[in-house]
Structures are given as structure tokens and as C-alpha cells.
């Protein structure tokens, strides 16, 4: 057994795909020597060696022995793993390897937008990141917290940074879940300059915790979504909701909450009904969106649907997803029901007719419709169109009798 290299980054093993492991022993003289194994040697072996050479040169390391076990890592992963390794060598947690974007610029931050589904992506696993946006979630969450092992935290920062810079996230809102406390602030420092829209702050219990995050974000146009995961957090929900102008939504973490309460989490969820309702009220009272926790059993479709119906009935507008297959189900279940859509279409038609006639007052038959009702109806029509439950030619279709 040879000695382990002094510096290491990345992952190796039978299950690893689309990732790589790097080991490095610096030397004072000589060239950069490779001990190189790659699943894609024929197709990209040469290109990969060139890229690594270039990255090491950019950090000022032209000498030493670099061991590479490449299981088909894409360039953004190679860059991230090299960055994580070189940060150790340079003892500089903020040293950055150059990124190479494969998509257009990040769209601007939008405060009011649907957040029905947000797909969790473990921050140290590149293979799930690659096509996440294709599945059409409203948001992706690049997670640096619970899905990343403590020993992998720092290299996950590099991977998340490169993924945010490089991958095509389409129309998804780009969210990052940071760690608690100082580790979370270090996460943000490592992600300085990376394009994202929103930070999920875990286990928030007091407004002051948000102030620290707020300050760390400086003048960046980045939103916040605090996660309430303890009895104290729930009790302080209203104050937390008001604690930062960046807040756009509150969400809840039921595993940690039930642990904090010292009770078992049940499928029915009766034990957290009060906490969830309390959070919904705090959110609505402060003009924020209320977003529910995740449903962990990916294979239990009926259970997932039931939990979505309950969440919607309680006033939640979205749910976390742990698997892309859950996204379409969330969108279906969070969409307005047929009777609601039908009624909303009737109001929307009346509204458009009134506008065409230059009238300010909207009426349906002999009944006048209040502006907030019109606004809600238009939002319902838009949501139904978004969910695909309303045909695009709904205006031409005959309304059913009331």
C-alpha cells in the first residue's frame, strides 16, 4: 500500500459516476507528473490532463505528482475538484479556479414568483445537478447543509460554486441552503460572486441570525427563506418573518422540529399541525409565501398527494422535493381545482370585457365583482395555465352554466 497523497479532493469508489478524485503531492522541482486513470480516456483523457495542468499552473503549481481517478467528470466538476484541492494546498479557502459557463447569464432576482416546487440537490453530488433544470422545478436548492457530510463541506462549496456558474439552470430560481451560524457565513464567503437568487437559512430561531446573513450578503440582490426547525423558531415565526427585507417566504423542517419536541414524526402529521399553521399565519401576516417541508418517501405517490392536499388546505403554496418525479405531482396538486378555475375564467372574461368597453367596474350578471376578487381570479387563471389544467384557448371556450 502506497502512502496517501498529502492533499486530496473529490470522490472515488464503485458507485461514483460523473465525478473524480484527485490526490496531490507537491514537489519543489520537476514537472507536473500524472498518475492518471479515466473511464473516458479515449474520448477526453488528453483534454482532461490539459485542463488540470492549466488549473494547477494558474495556482502556481507546475511541479508535483497528481493522481487522478476520473469516472467521467464533466469539466465543471474537474474545475471544482481541482479548486477544492488547491484551496488546501494554498491554505486559502477563497482561492478560485476559473469557471467556464456553458449557459447564458443568470436571470435577475424576482421577488414575487411561484415557488411551488423546489428540488433539493446534494451539494457534493454532481450527477444530480446536471439535468435538474430539465425537470422543470420552480427552484433548485444546492444544498450545503444536511445532505453533505461534515468532511466534505469545503469541497461541496467549490462544487456548488462551479455548478452555479457553469450549468444551465433554465428558468429555475437558484437557491442555496447554507449551514448554520458561522459555517453558513463561510459558505456565503466561498460563494461570493456566484450567481444565485435566494439563500435558505436553516434552523433559524431568532431574528438576529438573519441579520448576520443579511450583512454577509451586502448589496447583493439575494432573497432569503428562513427555515423554522425548532419550537423556539416556531414561537418566533412572526418576528423572524419580519427580520429581513430580503425575506420572501418561510418554510419549516419537520424532522428537526419533531426531534426538538421529543416526539415521533407520524405520517398523519397531527403532532406538527399547530406549528405548521402557526408558520402559515406568520408568513401570511407579513406578506410572505408559506412553503411546506419535504415528503421523503419517493415511492409513496398516494401519501405524497395526500400530504400536498393537506398542505394546500392549510395555506402552503409550495413543497420541497427530494426527487424530480415529485415535481409534476406538486404542480398538479398545488394547481387550482376545476371548479375554482371555471369560476375564475368567468370573472376573467367579465374583466376583459369590461376593459374592452373601457369600464372600471367588473360585473358578472347582476353581481359586481370586487377588485381583489378579480385579482385572485386572474392569478388562478394564470396558475391553471401554468399547471396545464386550462387550455390556452380558454377565452374562446363556452363557459359551462353556473
Amino acid at each position: 500500500m502506497t502512502d496517501q497523497p498529502r492533499f486530496q479532493a473529490g470522490r472515488r469508489g464503485d458507485e461514483v459516476r460523473g465525478d473524480c478524485w484527485l490526490g496531490f503531492d507537491p514537489a519543489a522541482t520537476g514537472d507536473l507528473e500524472f498518475d492518471f486513470r479515466s473511464r473516458v480516456e479515449v474520448l477526453y483523457g488528453e483534454a482532461t490532463r490539459e485542463l488540470l495542468q492549466e488549473l494547477f499552473a494558474s495556482a502556481g503549481f507546475a511541479n508535483g505528482r497528481l493522481s487522478v481517478d476520473d469516472q467521467g467528470a464533466y469539466p465543471f466538476v474537474l474545475r471544482a475538484r481541482a479548486e477544492a484541492l488547491l484551496r488546501q494546498v494554498l491554505q486559502d479557502p477563497l482561492w478560485n479556479a476559473a469557471c467556464e459557463p456553458v449557459a447564458g447569464p443568470c436571470p435577475p432576482t424576482v421577488r414575487v414568483r411561484p415557488r411551488r416546487s423546489r428540488l433539493y440537490l446534494p451539494g457534493n453530488e454532481p450527477k444530480y445537478m446536471l439535468n435538474a433544470a430539465l425537470h422543470g422545478p420552480d427552484a433548485v436548492i444546492l444544498d450545503l447543509e444536511d445532505s453533505v457530510a461534515p468532511a466534505a463541506k469545503s469541497q461541496a462549496r467549490s462544487l456548488v460554486r462551479h455548478a452555479l456558474h457553469s450549468l444551465d439552470w433554465g428558468a429555475c430560481e437558484r437557491m442555496v441552503r447554507i449551514n448554520q451560524g458561522d459555517a453558513g457565513l463561510a459558505d456565503l464567503a466561498a460563494l461570493a460572486g456566484a450567481p444565485f437568487h435566494l439563500v435558505l437559512v436553516p434552523k433559524v430561531e431568532r431574528p438576529a441570525e438573519l441579520a448576520a446573513v443579511d450583512a454577509a450578503l451586502g448589496d447583493r440582490d439575494v432573497l432569503l427563506m428562513p427555515i423554522l426547525e425548532s419550537a423556539l423558531g416556531i414561537e418566533n415565526a412572526f418576528a423572524i418573518a419580519q427580520a429581513s427585507p430580503r425575506n420572501v417566504a418561510l418554510t419549516i423542517g419537520l424532522e428537526d422540529l419533531t426531534a426538538d419536541l421529543g416526539i415521533a414524526k407520524t405520517a398523519g402529521g397531527a403532532e406538527t399541525l399547530w406549528a405548521r399553521s402557526r408558520m402559515v399565519h406568520a408568513a401570511k401576516a407579513t406578506g410572505l409565501q408559506a412553503i411546506d417541508s419535504v415528503y421523503g418517501d419517493v415511492d409513496d405517490d398516494p401519501g405524497f398527494r395526500a400530504s400536498l392536499r393537506e398542505a394546500r388546505a392549510l395555506g402552503f403554496q409550495g413543497k420541497g422535493c427530494v426527487h424530480p418525479r415529485q415535481i409534476a405531482v406538486v404542480h398538479q396538486e398545488m394547481a387550482p381545482r376545476p371548479q375554482e378555475v371555471e369560476h375564475a375564467c368567468r370573472i376573467a372574461r367579465a374583466f376583459e370585457a369590461a376593459q374592452a368597453r373601457g369600464q372600471a367596474v367588473v360585473s358578472l350578471g347582476s353581481k359586481m365583482i370586487d377588485p381583489p376578487v378579480v385579482k385572485r381570479a386572474l392569478a388562478t387563471v394564470a396558475a391553471a395555465l401554468e399547471a396545464g389544467s386550462l387550455p390556452t384557448d380558454w377565452r374562446e371556450r363556452e363557459p359551462k352554466s353556473a
Partner: protein, 521 residues
């Protein structure tokens, strides 16, 4: 070792070996470019007077049967692959041949699998000269490295039948593994302790080989019914302990994918079939084995229930999901070419709507029509597809020969052919400028379905038109290729290949559509 470097250009613009194992190559002349004439091959005339009047053709042991069959150097032996990776008989045959000291045999399997890796040593010692048939796994790798004495020849299931019928391959001897047989040689695959379903691939061997040996581990008193193989074609019957492991017929073929990207591909194809108007009362489809196509079947089933339509027939590779559709009345028939799991075997035995077919009925170039061209939609896989919709199903992008053609080429004649492929697999792009090996011409491939969306062959303006208003994401295949290249850091380097041809890829009509060169390093 013979090496062939002389080449010809065929109508697809591919370089193919000028000769294949001593025969001049017929270069591919276009999809419908060849019309051979003459008469079909036929086995020698026999007389019943030379066979036992009591119908007992049993012989003690395979070695004795091979000796009686007059096995000698240079002969061609056919075997079938209905046991897929569980076949035990091919190894027995060539081990016995080696014991008899016979050399330079041509093995003509309908496919070979990793379970045949023990035959590598018989390729090394010259018992087997070369393989003409699909090579899955280690045998393909061996061939890729240029170690085989002759050139590998890969044919589709229908192409194998065509080669036998028009004399391109003369079968001296067929050895047919049979899960149940009687002493007269009637045999079936649908019952017995090693039941594997049907024996369709072996029917050409039974009808055209000079000499036919049935090997079984379940001898029943005459008559063995149903007789998928007719005893009238059989010379000898050999009883052995075990012909195959039916548990291995399922390997890698019956697990529905859990990958979200692959499920997305499957769901999009099903939605395409619905939105393009293919899903209608009395339609037909075929979905090959593999995770994506199985998932497609399940999505399609949901859509059939929703739309209230039934299929008239589906073609298998049967599996539990097709069997469920048959049993639930969602299709009138399964026309089965090979059973992919034990539910398929049971259904074939018990359900009169589950029919055993063969490459002759479905895929044969010299037949008077084929079932394959009557199918409304077929969903297949591929290792590579290029921007002209040409596809590869036998080699990887590094040039190594690792898969067989199966019925893939034959299925391309369906009314709508969909290839279900991830656009990239762990930095191995599947969408390329030009496929490493051409197996199917782009003019026969209508849709390439990837996780990024569906690319419709611009020739199929009717499909593009039919999909107006559908939510299935469509994109241009060249745009998709650009997207994948960007992700991978540029287009991949070409495989490192030598000059020598190690294998030829035959088109369904017996012409050569591409050559495979030795992999270097």
C-alpha cells in the same frame, strides 16, 4: 491470424472490408438497394428409412452425437440464445468439439453473451476460428482487439435468417438447446425445469442445417407438444443434466429504470405516441428490453387506460408488463420473439393470445412481407446517434464492440421508429457528428428521444405537424449536439483504431453497411 485492411466505400459512405473471411463483400447499396434472385438454400435430401422406426433418436452424450454428425475441421455450427446469459449448451458443444480435436470451426450463434467467456480459450487454441453473430461483452472485446482468427460478422436476427436462406452462410450443424423434447426430436421452450419461452431463433437452424441435434434436460414421452421444433428436422437427441439457467434470461432487461432522466425520456415518448395520434384503438407497438423502454410501456399503459383504447397486438421481447396488458385486456395478442422473464414464459405456455413468432415471420428479408413493418411504433435503444439520425448499436464511442444487433435493424422498418437514448452518459456524448459504427441509416429513424427532449427527423414533416400544440419538448438534433459538446468540454476525440478490420456489420439484406476496425491500446 488473417488481417484485412483492403476496403471499399459503400452507398452510406462508410469504408467496409473488401472481403469477409475469403468472400468478396457486397457493399451496402441503400436501404432497398439489393434484390437477389435464384433459389433458396436447402438441406440435403434424407430418407426416413435411415432413421429408427420407433422414433428414438437418442444418442449417449454430445461428443458421440458430434462424432456421428461427422463434425470436422472448418465446419459451421449454429446455436440459439433464448437463454441469453444463462446458456450452457454452446460451451458444451465446443468443449466436446475440442475433445474430438476438431479445429477452425465457425460459430454461428444467434447471439453470444458473457456466459460464453469460457470459449475464449477455444478461440485461442484454434478450435473456434471465428464468430459470426452478435457478441455481447468479453467475446466482443476479444474481437475488438483483433485477436480472433477470422473476421466477426454481425447480423440482425432477420439477417441471420437471410444469410442462411440465400446461402451466404451454410450451416453444417445446428445444436438446439431445448427445455423439453421427446426422443423423436420434437421440442419446445415453453415448459420444463429450464423453460425459456420459445425457440424461434433456432427454427432456421432446424430447417436449413445439414444436421440437427436437439439437446434437452427434460425428455418427455412422445409426443412433445407443442412442438416449436419439429422432430422431422432433427437427426439426433441428447439428454444432458441442464441446458440453461432460465433465471439469467432476465439479466439486465427487466428492471424499470429509477433514473429521473430516463423516466423523463420514457414519459416523453409515451406522450409523443399519444399526441402524434399513434395511440388509437387497434394500434400496435414494440418496446425492446431495457430500463427506459420498460418504463415507456408503463407510461403508455396509463395513457391507454386514460384514452380508453386497446392495442390489437404488441410485439415482444415479452415481460411481466406486456403480460399484464394482455391479461388485463389492453392488447388482444403478444407476438413474441423472445421471452425476457418468467412471466413471459408462463404466459406463452398458458395464454392462447401469447404467440410464439420467429425472425421468419417478423424480420426476414427473403420473406413475403414482415410483421415488423406493420407495427405503428417501436421504441429501441442505441449506443450513438449522429446529427443525420444514423445510429450505432454495436460499438461504444471508444470503438470497442460490446453489443449485438438483435432485432434492432429489422425493427427500423416500423411506421415510426423511436430511439430512446440519454444525450450523454457520464461525459460520453451519445449525439455525435458521425457515429463510430453505422448500423441503422438515418432515413429509417424518425425520432431520437433524450432527456433534453425529442428530436424529430426533418423527413417526418407529418410527425412535426401532428405534434403542433403538444407539450412534448422538441428540439433540433444539431442544437442538442452543441449543448452536449459544451457541457462535455468540446466534441470527443475519435477512438484510436488500427487499419485492420475485425468485424463486418451486415445490413438486413446481406450487404455490408460498415466495418469495425481493431481498437488500439
Amino acid at each position: 491470424m488473417t488481417t484485412t485492411t483492403a476496403s471499399l466505400h459503400n452507398a452510406a459512405g462508410r469504408e467496409v472490408p473488401a472481403e469477409i473471411n475469403g468472400r468478396p463483400t457486397l457493399p451496402f447499396a441503400g436501404v432497398d438497394g439489393r434484390r437477389p434472385d435464384g433459389r433458396k438454400a436447402a438441406p440435403p435430401i434424407r430418407s426416413c428409412a435411415d432413421f429408427p422406426a420407433d422414433g428414438d433418436k437418442r444418442v449417449a452424450g454430445l461428443k458421440e452425437a458430434l462424432r456421428r454428425a461427422g463434425l470436422r475441421d472448418g465446419m459451421t455450427i449454429g446455436t440459439h440464445h433464448h437463454f441469453r446469459n444463462g446458456d450452457l449448451v454452446a460451451n458444451m458443444v465446443f468443449t466436446a468439439a475440442a475433445d474430438l480435436g476438431v479445429k477452425n470451426l465457425r460459430w454461428f450463434p444467434s447471439a453470444s453473451f458473457p456466459c460464453h467467456a469460457p470459449l475464449l480459450k477455444l478461440l485461442e487454441n484454434g478450435t473456434i476460428h471465428h464468430i459470426e453473430g452478435s457478441m455481447n461483452g468479453p467475446l466482443g472485446d476479444y474481437c475488438s482487439q483483433g485477436k480472433m482468427r477470422g473476421m466477426g460478422v454481425l447480423r440482425s436476427h432477420g439477417g441471420r435468417w437471410q444469410a442462411i436462406q440465400d446461402g451466404e452462410v451454410h450451416l453444417d450443424l445446428a445444436v438446439i438447446a431445448a427445455p423439453t423434447a421427446d426422443a423423436f426430436g420434437n421440442a419446445t421452450g415453453d415448459r420444463g425445469p429450464s423453460a425459456c419461452g420459445l425457440l424461434g431463433f433456432a427454427q432456421a437452424d432446424a430447417q436449413y442445417a445439414d444436421h440437427v441435434i436437439v439437446v434437452t434436460d427434460n425428455l418427455v414421452p412422445f409426443p412433445c407438444v407443442p412442438w416449436q421444433i419439429m422432430g422431422q428436422n432433427v437427426d439426433q437427441v441428447v439428454l444432458v443434466d441442464k441446458v440453461g439457467d432460465p433465471a439469467q434470461i432476465v439479466s439486465g432487461t427487466t428492471v424499470v429504470t429509477r433514473s429521473p432522466d430516463r423516466l423523463r425520456i420514457a414519459e416523453h415518448i409515451a406522450a409523443f405516441v399519444r399526441d402524434a395520434g399513434i395511440l388509437r384503438e387497434g394500434f400496435s407497438f414494440q418496446a425492446g428490453a431495457g430500463g427506459i423502454t420498460l418504463a415507456f410501456t408503463l407510461f403508455l399503459k396509463e395513457m391507454m387506460l386514460e384514452a380508453g383504447v386497446r392495442a390489437r397486438f404488441v410485439r415482444g421481447g415479452s415481460n411481466q408488463y406486456l403480460v399484464e396488458m394482455l391479461e388485463e385486456g389492453l392488447t388482444d395478442y403478444i407476438l413474441d420473439g423472445q421471452t425476457f422473464d418468467l412471466d413471459g414464459v408462463r404466459s406463452m405456455r398458458e395464454n392462447p393470445g401469447h404467440l410464439a413468432t420467429s425472425p421468419f415471420t417478423s424480420y426476414n428479408f427473403h420473406g413475403k412481407g414482415n410483421f415488423a413493418s406493420m407495427i405503428d411504433v417501436v421504441v429501441l435503444g442505441a449506443t450513438e446517434v449522429d446529427v443525420d439520425f444514423n445510429a450505432n448499436v454495436v460499438t461504444h464511442s471508444d470503438g470497442r464492440l460490446l453489443h449485438g444487433i438483435g432485432g434492432w435493424q429489422n425493427c427500423l422498418t416500423s411506421r415510426c421508429t423511436v430511439l430512446a437514448v440519454p444525450a450523454v452518459r457520464d461525459r460520453i456524448p451519445v449525439i455525435l457528428d458521425r457515429v463510430t459504427t453505422l448500423c441503422g441509416p438515418g432515413e429509417l429513424i424518425d425520432v431520437v428521444a433524450t432527456e433534453h427532449g425529442l428530436c424529430i427527423n426533418p423527413r417526418r414533416t407529418d410527425l412535426v405537424e401532428a405534434l403542433r400544440g403538444s407539450k412534448v419538448p422538441l428540439l433540433d438534433i444539431r442544437e442538442l449536439k452543441t449543448r452536449i459538446d459544451r457541457l462535455c468540454g468540446g466534441p470527443p476525440a475519435k477512438p484510436r483504431l488500427g487499419e485492420e478490420f475485425v468485424a463486418a456489420i451486415q445490413w438486413v439484406d446481406g450487404t455490408t453497411i460498415d466495418g469495425v476496425r481493431r481498437v488500439v491500446g
